[in-house]
């Protein structure tokens, strides 16, 4: 009888690994002031943005790559990277008819139909291809509500005051090595403004696609939720299969004013490299939200299945009194993938509350690390945090690490931390099989049970995507 091989069961084929054959306009590789000026010029940016870029660049030049993470990877040569590439298509198109059919086909294959008839009802999409946004759907419909949803490059001209006020306000140009790099060379990204009192009638989403070889993707997303507004945001990402590593260093900033609610969900499915660890995306991302107003809330959901390297800590600064920050995460690593991910919850205001639920699943030779900080500042009286970070291991070669840091400068707070590390055992698998469940389904139901706390928090539309990617049976979470 063949020995149980869990590796076969969780090894999924990467279906988004194709390359789109389209002419790309690339600038020459390398990073210097001229390149930055060129990027800014291409986008016809106002002076304040060029200044922001140049400030970031001079800061970045004096910075070093962070070495504190639990990640081992080949040296990144920043002068080999192409910092801007865009498909050669008509610019500023007004309708889909003008969009290159090759791109339409690409998004169809990725399961993101953009055409009117096939659009997923209730989800507006901003499609980012390499360094530019190729189309944003439902833009006009959303305008009726006063909602601005467009690419960041467009927003710079549409609402320059908002951009000047908020860009870099949550993640400053000098925040960290990768955020500074992004601030210097960022290409496109999504912008979203939800006006006072408006509850966004549909989910907004950005789909990031890296296509061209040799480029890095440095998008920047800015979400502003005004008083008493709410929005659910979804993000997806994929890339072709290639033997060389590609860098993705994004920044996402969220601002929630009084009583505003933002839920940001990510399915990160960048190419993870092959079975022996060759290729894959280096994903160094800074995501942070600030609950600026009282009673506001920001929720991060993430399902991380891709990338060869993941370095990502979606965080919340709880500045407003009674504000709420939540982080729900499932990170799956397989083969030679490495993930170092977690969150920071910074409690500033009074009676603030944060919840962290992190589930790490490691298989193959992979390494999965949870890293988190819960920090309570002196004036944050009556605040609470609950953290649970669990790890599930497959086989004998995968590893799981947890680095939770708790700092409290106020004695009236309540902080709870729970953590469990377990191994999916052959006995557990066999128990399921003895009841007639095949190996693959057995892995699914065990993993599904493990992730239940996170899965039950995902938005409905997201469940389907998550299911497709994780091969998890979701009956348990929605039944």
């Amino acid at each position: 009888m063949n020995k149980l091989d869990i590796k076969d069961v969780i090894n999924k084929k990467y279906t988004a690994g194709f390359h789109t054959d389209i002419v790309s306009e690339k600038i020459s590789p390398g990073i210097n002031e001229d390149i930055i000026r060129l990027i800014s010029e291409k986008k016809n940016e106002p002076k304040f943005l060029l200044d922001f870029r140049l400030k970031a660049y001079s800061k970045w030049k004096c910075m070093f790559e962070p070495k504190w993470s639990n990640l081992v990877y080949d040296k990144i040569n920043y002068n080999d990277i192409i910092y801007h590439a865009s498909p050669k298509i008509k610019k500023n198109i007004k309708s889909l008819d003008e969009l290159d059919p090759v791109l339409l086909e690409t998004y169809n294959r990725l399961g993101i139909p953009l055409t009117e008839q096939k659009r997923i009802a209730g989800i507006a999409v901003d499609a980012i291809f390499d360094s530019v946004s190729v189309i944003t759907t439902f833009k006009e419909e959303l305008q009726k509500y006063g909602i601005i949803f467009c690419s960041l490059s467009e927003a710079v001209h549409l609402v320059p005051d908002l951009i000047e006020k908020y860009i870099g306000s949550v993640v400053s140009y000098s925040d960290n090595f990768f955020a500074s790099l992004n601030s210097a060379v960022f290409s496109d990204g999504s912008f979203c403004y939800i006006p006072k009192g408006v509850s966004c009638p549909m989910d907004l989403s950005t789909y990031f696609r890296i296509n061209t070889a040799g480029i890095g993707q440095f998008e920047r997303t800015l979400i502003i939720a005004d008083k008493d507004s709410s929005v659910t945001y979804l993000e997806g990402c994929t890339a072709p299969m290639r033997d060389e590593n590609q860098l993705h260093a994004a920044v996402v900033e969220i601002i929630a004013l009084d009583n505003a609610k933002v839920k940001y969900s990510t399915v990160q499915n960048w190419y993870p490299g092959n079975e022996s660890g060759k290729g894959g995306i280096y994903n160094f991302v800074t995501k942070r939200g600030i609950c600026l107003g009282d009673y506001s809330s920001i929720i991060w959901n993430q399902i991380e299945v891709g990338s060869s390297i993941t370095w990502k800590y979606p965080s919340v600064i709880l500045k407003g009194d009674h504000s709420v920050g939540k982080f729900y995460s499932i990170a799956v690593t397989n083969n030679y993938q490495q993930a170092d991910t977690g969150t920071k919850m910074i409690h500033v205001g009074k009676n603030t509350k944060s919840v962290i639920i992190s589930k790490g699943i490691s298989a193959g030779n992979s390494k999965n690390t949870y890293r988190g900080i819960v920090s309570v500042l002196p004036k944050s009286s009556g605040s609470r945090n609950y953290t649970r970070c669990d790890s599930l291991l497959f086989g004998n070669r995968s590893s799981a690490f947890t680095f939770p840091i708790i700092k409290s400068k106020n004695s009236s707070v309540n902080i709870e931390h729970e953590a469990v590390t377990s191994k999916i055992s052959e006995e557990q698998m066999f128990y399921c099989q003895q009841r007639g469940i095949d190996e693959e389904s057995a892995v699914c139901i065990i993993v599904n049970g493990f992730c239940k706390q996170v899965i039950s928090e995902l938005p409905m539309e997201f469940l389907l995507e998550a299911q497709r990617l994780l091969d998890i049976s979701l009956e348990g979470a929605i039944g």
Binding site: M1, S425, R435, F450
Partner: protein, 249 residues
């Protein structure tokens, strides 16, 4: 026996790291028969149960097992289950986060798929479970707890029998169902088993103790020692053992 054996084990030898655990074991079980295997610790009783349900990857094996005209060694563990062999585990496993109800639904649907039937209707399924839970004296909240997580010994064993009733197998192997069970639980469990075997189902009970004979009528008692069956008899053999110990064989 007037009919063909339902399960036919012939010359079964099982080795683990060069240590012989089962040695040329022979056993035939007919449809509707109830067999008991008794023996001291470490004679290979649980190994026999494991091999019968296909959990044998660590062993080297010789001999034959024919079950319902299939070569058992050609089947994977889930196929063995789908073809009607059920093992009640001595130590049922825990699956954190997965509710009993979802687990039940998963395996019942796997079985229905095998029988080329559509997925089970939720309401009908729930009614069915509740009926069995009543007989087993199991409380409703049991359904929504994680599989075996934090269950008492008695609850775990009741849970095994509930799963047996839901799967409706043809051959049931009870591996030390009586260990860790108090008298009340033992009564509930055997009440179910007795009514279950009335439908011409076969039963193989593995145990140390004769106390279960107070709850069920058995057809054959086998005494196992040194990896094979050394003596076979009827109920009275078990009582002899009870009085005089295993030394009589």
């Amino acid at each position: 026996m007037t009919f063909k054996s339902f399960l036919d084990i012939s010359n079964l030898s099982v080795q683990l790291d060069k240590k012989l655990i089962l040695s040329k074991l022979n056993l035939k079980i007919g449809l509707g028969e109830i067999h008991v295997i008794m023996g001291p610790n470490g004679v290979g009783k649980s190994t026999l149960a494991k091999v019968l349900v296909g959990n044998n990857s660590e062993y080297s094996i010789s001999g034959n097992i024919i079950y319902d005209s299939f070569d058992l060694f050609s089947l994977s563990p889930d196929e063995i289950s789908l073809k009607g062999i059920f093992l009640s585990f001595q130590h049922p496993l825990e699956i954190p986060g997965l509710s009993n109800f979802q687990f039940f639904k998963s395996f019942v649907n796997a079985k229905r798929k095998y029988q080329k039937l559509g997925p089970v209707d939720n309401k009908e399924f729930l009614d069915n479970i509740r009926k069995f839970m009543k007989i087993l004296n199991i409380h409703e909240e049991f359904l929504y707890r994680s599989v075996n997580e934090g269950f008492s010994g008695g609850e775990k064993k009741r849970n095994e029998i509930l799963q047996m009733l839901l799967l409706d197998p043809k051959l049931v192997i009870l591996d030390e169902i009586d260990s860790g069970l108090d008298v009340d639980s033992l009564k509930d469990v055997f009440k179910c088993i007795c009514s279950f075997v009335k439908n011409n189902n076969s039963l193989l009970i593995i145990t140390h103790y004769t106390r279960i004979l107070d709850y069920i009528d058995v057809d054959f008692v086998h005494i196992m020692n040194n990896g094979c069956i050394v003596k076979t008899g009827d109920k009275s053999l078990a009582y002899d053992i009870n009085e005089k110990g295993y030394s009589i064989v």
